[in-house]
């Protein structure tokens, strides 16, 4: 038997697999892929996760569907209880938040991310800002980074606008080390920093130095494509593999929760067209 899935579903599945059971996990706002990933994790391998919804701070909600914005009562329906902004961030500061998800218009090789501004000396592009991401990048026990725009438009190397950069113009959320080499251990932060980076081209972890390392590509991407679209030399893991595809159960959860297709807004047109064939026996094994 065969089933078809989309790239969005593959990426949601990959994000979900970074969640451990029985931990407190928070997703921010403006991130439907992550919202869906947490609901997938909660309904599959992480039933005891404490799921805190971004913007509403509802705990373990069962939303009937995903809405186009995050601070909507749809998204805290069925919640067991709710936190307020102080309590949520206190949980982070005291080291009791297991995982947070962060993204950036620039992500550097140490996992620093920029959602504040582009331009080195002068501000060229003002981005929305990081919400509480700066705080939680330091405080949350683990961070999963993601971006849906790793693939660069073809242009000569010196004029290419990379998403994965050697150095961020501005560091909104802290990764493993600063531009001048200070580590999070030296800074005394509670959190252990970024653990994963899920992109439209591959899945990275971080090596012992805190540098990005390519662990997986997708069935339709290659190490060469990853290298072409990265602004630094890509470190590749010895045991590079191909990312797992979602099980039919996971695909069903995603389609049930997002009938409007809110998560497609996060994907670029090319990535919305990517399709994969899941052989059911493999999918069962992978889940």
């Amino acid at each position: 038997m065969m089933a078809d899935c989309s790239f969005g579903e593959v990426m949601i599945n990959a994000l979900a697999r970074t969640v451990e059971d029985s931990t407190l996990v928070f997703h921010g706002y403006g991130s439907p892929l992550v919202q869906l990933a947490l609901h997938v994790a909660k309904r599959t391998h992480a039933p005891h996760m404490v799921l805190v919804a971004g913007a509403t701070y509802g705990v373990n909600p069962r939303p009937p569907f995903l809405t186009p914005t995050s601070n909507d009562w749809v998204l805290d329906r069925g919640a067991e209880c709710a936190l307020d902004i102080g309590e949520l961030f206190d949980l982070g500061a005291s080291g009791r938040m297991g995982r947070m998800f962060l993204s950036g218009l620039q992500i550097d090789r140490w996992g620093n991310a920029n959602v504040t501004m582009l331009g080195n000396e002068n501000l060229q592009l003002k981005l929305p800002g990081g919400g509480g991401g700066c705080n939680l990048s330091c405080d949350a026990q683990h961070v999963t980074l993601w971006t849906t725009a790793h693939r660069c438009d073809p242009a000569p190397r010196d004029r290419r606008r990379y998403r994965l950069v050697k150095r961020c113009d501005f560091v909104t959320s802290f990764g493993h080390r600063t531009a001048d080499g200070r580590t999070r251990a030296e800074l005394g932060h509670r959190g252990q920093g970024p653990e994963w980076l899920i992109t439209d081209l591959g899945i990275f972890d971080f090596n012992a130095d805190g540098h990005l390392r390519l662990r997986q590509v997708y069935p339709d991407t290659t190490v060469e494509e990853v290298a072409e679209s990265s602004g630094f030399d890509v470190v590749v893991a010895d045991d590079l593999s191909v990312a797992a595809l979602p099980s039919p159960e996971v695909i069903g959860i995603i389609r049930g929760l997002d009938p409007i297709g809110v998560h497609l807004k996060e994907l670029r047109p090319h990535d919305r067209e990517r399709r994969f064939t899941v052989r059911l026996a493999e999918a069962v094994e992978a889940s």
Binding site: D76, G129, S137, F170
Partner: protein, 317 residues
């Protein structure tokens, strides 16, 4: 005491919307309530623009159309918000971006927990609060008033953030009474902290009820003695949501966004003029956004999950 006069004990604090907006003066540090597409005091924001207020410094956590509209109307000089955007729904905030990029608005971006700790310092009567985070990021570069200290108990290095007492907190609640008690339903965002930290607190409410009715609804979460003035403004959060009364007006927000994206002239012509400056009052605005028919549609969320979902699907551009 941080408030000009405290406690605020007047028996009847009712005022009209324009008089309420007049509490916001040129150059004030303003905390706008609500967050993203929910329970934002938009009618009051429009009234502030009609008054021609200039030079505001805005502070807070997660914002969108409120700060973008104030930027588009030229009211803001400094933004110390943590986020200003339309999430994945429409993306970046066009007027805010332009104002920051031209230098009309000075960028002093903050982050949510830093704001929380700064408000807590003000609420506690302390000059600062410590936080562990921020170091390692560049956020401190935009906030030269942060300081580092070595903890005298543990020897750890910590960041100190100064107390933040906004001049005015501008809130919108579902319910309130004439005494000034406010009942905010659903996620309070930063409002409960704003109410306790600010020098002046003014609020619009969907419905003024008796103190007894307010208790029956579940009780106040902002006690009256923090509140200076209150105005009943039904649909006062439109086009953001104010559940349980109405959902987010995505179609109007799309219209707003398209006008803002098209540039400052288009924004003035297609949005500021018809929906802010040419509106004689809030009732006039409500006529212009579709009147009772729009309200009926936005209130239909509560009929069933299917009608709730259809609200977004019908109104998705």
């Amino acid at each position: 005491m941080m408030q000009a006069s405290f406690p605020l004990t007047a028996d009847d604090k009712r005022i009209d919307l324009d008089a309420l907006a007049a509490y916001v003066k040129n150059g004030d540090c303003l905390a706008v309530g609500g967050g993203l597409s929910s329970r934002v005091p938009m009618a009051a924001v429009r009234a502030i623009l009609r008054r021609g207020v200039r030079g505001l410094k805005v502070v807070g956590s997660a914002h969108g159309i409120d700060i973008d509209l104030l930027c588009g109307g030229g009211a803001i000089a400094v933004s110390a918000e943590s986020y200003v955007g339309f999430e994945q729904d429409f993306g970046m905030a066009p007027n805010y971006r332009r104002a920051c990029e031209t230098g009309d608005v000075k960028v002093e971006d903050s982050c949510c927990y830093t704001v929380v700790q700064q408000l807590r310092a003000a609420i506690s009567g302390l000059p600062f609060m410590p936080i562990r985070s921020v170091r390692g990021s560049d956020v401190g570069r935009l906030n030269p008033d942060y300081r580092l200290m070595t903890c005298p108990f543990t020897g750890e290095e910590l960041t100190l953030v100064p107390a933040l007492a906004p001049d005015v907190a501008l809130l919108h609640a579902q319910y309130g009474d004439t005494h000034g008690n406010l009942r905010i339903e659903g996620p309070p965002v930063t409002d409960l902290l704003f109410a306790r930290a600010s020098r002046t607190v003014v609020a619009t409410v969907e419905k003024l009820v008796s103190t007894e009715e307010l208790k029956e609804l579940g009780g106040a979460n902002v006690p009256y003695f923090y509140v200076t003035a209150i105005a009943e403004v039904a649909l006062g959060a439109h086009p953001t949501a104010c559940y349980p009364l109405y959902a987010y007006d995505r179609a109007h927000t799309a219209l707003y966004y398209e006008a803002a994206k098209a540039g400052p002239d288009a924004f003035r012509r297609d949005y500021l003029t018809p929906f802010v400056f040419d509106c004689a009052d809030h009732a006039d605005y409500l006529d212009r956004i579709g009147g009772a028919a729009t309200l009926t549609q936005l209130a239909s969320w509560s009929e069933s999950p299917a009608t709730w979902q259809r609200l977004y699907m019908d109104r998705v551009s």
